[in-house]
Symmetry: C2
Subunit: 210 residues, 2 copies
Amino acid sequence: MTDASPHDAAAPRRRGRPSRTQTEAAPATRDRILDAAREEFSERGYEKTSVRGIAKAAGVDSALVHHYFGTKEQVFEAAVEVAVTPALAASNAVGDGPLDGVGERLTRFLFGVWENPTTRAPLLAIVRSAFNNEAAAAVFRRLLVAQLMRRIAQQLDVPDAELRAELAAAQLVGVAMLRYVIKLEPLASVDVERIIERVAPVVQAHLTAP
Amino acid sequence: MTDASPHDAAAPRRRGRPSRTQTEAAPATRDRILDAAREEFSERGYEKTSVRGIAKAAGVDSALVHHYFGTKEQVFEAAVEVAVTPALAASNAVGDGPLDGVGERLTRFLFGVWENPTTRAPLLAIVRSAFNNEAAAAVFRRLLVAQLMRRIAQQLDVPDAELRAELAAAQLVGVAMLRYVIKLEPLASVDVERIIERVAPVVQAHLTAP
């Protein structure tokens, strides 16, 4: 996203008066706001994060945050998108390859994202926020499940493909919740390979079993 | 819990000075506080709920809430316990009967609780709070998973019984999250029997498959 300019369609001009700070190099400022937003949402959750707090953390005026991104929900969506875009790009590979390996590829992909501290923090932020706030839940639905699971569902030649993909997602979301958020033992401490070994066949069965 | 007295071990005397209100019939007051607590936690979540707000909703002095229950975490635990105790009592039946039907019994039991509006509201409150607050997560671990899933794990004659029970719980928690909280379609609207049909064999496999 470093090549984004404030005039992109993705960066709506919501509030009129441009701040003086705008004379800075725009992409760097935009990225700094996004970094600050990701940190704030991760630490505080959606509801307790304010545009003013993000602006302060980024060292810019609130008006500039509104200028680049619009509402708090739009800042959140942009911050989440930056965090998950590389993961979603990588997830294209999940759909490639033989269908009888899709359960393992999807499971490995998702635990790869969760086990990586850099991607885990924003994911935790999204998930925590999504369970407490309708706007954040909408972002969760749009970005993660619709983009990732629907793409997989489209490749399945079974009845109820979407429902099946969602039940597979439910298994993965549930394990992530209990392992990374609730920290239930032994699930929280066990080697991830032992989880993958048990979960991948379940995901596969949801997607392709008769 | 209507026979509980303020002198029960379960109702710790945390703060000294008893309020005047205490001269009321104690069990009725205690129940009224619990009802108010359940409502407040359901509506606002753990973090935004205050002992003062609970007291106000119950029409009593804050000191009385502290007197009966102690800290906010203890009020929360008591409110959750009242809400889930009938469900946990019924869950004893899940462990009874042949082991090859435990997946279906557990799945039916949990969706029975979630599909019932009376029990769904406090469950949503627990779950939402547990994902955002460590104290609430601890209550979730203690009450729900430890009591329900560990009891089932104890009956399994397989290696990794606790991990298996937790992965089964993860499937059920994940479906509940995506259906009742995130409201992902088609999962949110589909008849619950179609979900049970697909999820029960998965829960069974987690628990008993080789």
